[in-house]
Point group: C2
Chain length 228, copies 2
């Protein structure tokens, strides 16, 4: 069985948990506090970041990109995700990858880095590093831009990259669910994005995420509510 080294509020780890569950892969979780820079963890991943997947064969795979492609290549098809994480033609797969990258890179740099990692990991590591209010405001503005982009895609598509669920949806959900835990997502202003998220949130793969509790950081009251 695989072991996923993660942190409950790491957006990239969340996307991989969803991917493993959608593909019917059994795995156990092991929590890591990436800000602690433990030597044993740095030996597994010199980048020092979660997620890391320890395969049943004892190989360490690092990062959402490498892990999602590995799962897409090796997981048996499952009833909940029979078209795989990157479905369709080569061009359609490229679109799912463009949007996975959009969330794991652009959205991360513009939103998650400030509203989750700097703010929360700073608080959890007790180094008292606080984020400048101007940066938090900018990140919240950026979040609104990204939510309107989700809404724009939803005008033409059932899922982010096309007619079928793909890793793009799971990448986006990894970030938005971490922000939602913190009560940072203004869902009411973006009904199309909210509808898309509600469909994801009610999938069985999502259930374990909704039970997450980060020590010292209680979730927003509506976090686990399917009728939010």
């Amino acid at each position: 069985m695989h072991t996923l080294i993660h942190h409950p509020l790491c957006a990239a780890s969340r996307s991989v948990r969803l991917a493993l569950a959608e593909c019917g892969e059994a795995f156990v979780l092991r929590e890591e506090r990436p800000w602690a820079w433990r030597a044993e963890f740095l030996e597994l991943n010199p980048a020092g970041s979660t997620p890391v997947l320890l395969t049943a064969n004892g190989v360490a795979l690092c990062g959402a990109y490498a892990i999602s492609e590995f799962v897409a290549e090796t997981a048996p098809s499952s009833p909940s995700n029979r078209y795989g994480l990157f479905p369709g033609s080569a061009e359609e797969r490229a679109e799912a990858r463009r949007l996975s990258d959009w969330f794991h890179r652009k959205f991360y740099d513009e939103v998650t880095l400030y509203l989750v990692e700097d703010k929360l990991f700073g608080a959890l590591s007790r180094q008292g590093a606080s984020v400048e209010p101007a940066l938090l405001r900018a990140a919240r503005d950026n979040l609104r831009y990204h939510l309107s982009y989700v809404g724009h895609l939803m005008e033409q598509r059932r899922w982010l990259a096309g007619p079928t669920l793909s890793f793009a949806d799971l990448a986006a959900a990894g970030h938005l669910s971490a922000l939602d835990y913190l009560g940072e997502v203004p869902w009411e202003e973006f009904p199309a994005a909210k509808d898309w998220y509600a469909r994801l949130k009610s999938r069985p793969s999502f259930r374990p995420l909704l039970e997450d509790r980060a020590p010292g950081v209680p979730p927003h009251p509506s976090y686990a509510d399917l009728d939010f």
Copy 2:
């Protein structure tokens, strides 16, 4: 034939040019200045960044991740790269992807962003945006750390991800060749990294990059020298 929309000093575009050439794919180049935020370009790629590959079928594929995987899936095998961009077992492919991500994300964030994009694109766009000297110093320190990591990998492997050339080498070469154009790489301090780069630099796929000239920015004298 594919059209690659790029900028001569965009590291991610360089890695894709190398990948297309290694896979024997014919393509033409179209130059874009990403800092100009042209509406026509934003319609092709809402992220506003290069590279974008326009396929022979007229589909726009955005970003080094989506394009490299597309080329790996669709290009015929070629004499110069008969094992493909992500060679080997699923675990070995994951290692090539970890290192591609290392350079296109971590190295970019810690080095290329400051020493190439902020500095050069700022100058080229004539907005006079200059980068703080402290940031340039930090980026140069980071570059040394990454060069020593390349040397560390070279103690155990012929190419970055294993015994065979992979997209990880081309991703790294995209960044290092852009920095080398600007004379920013202290090769003499890192002989193992230099030896690896010299082997890449003498491959036929590299030749067009060595002929690049960015308007207003002459290359460092040793940039195109195979015996640097």
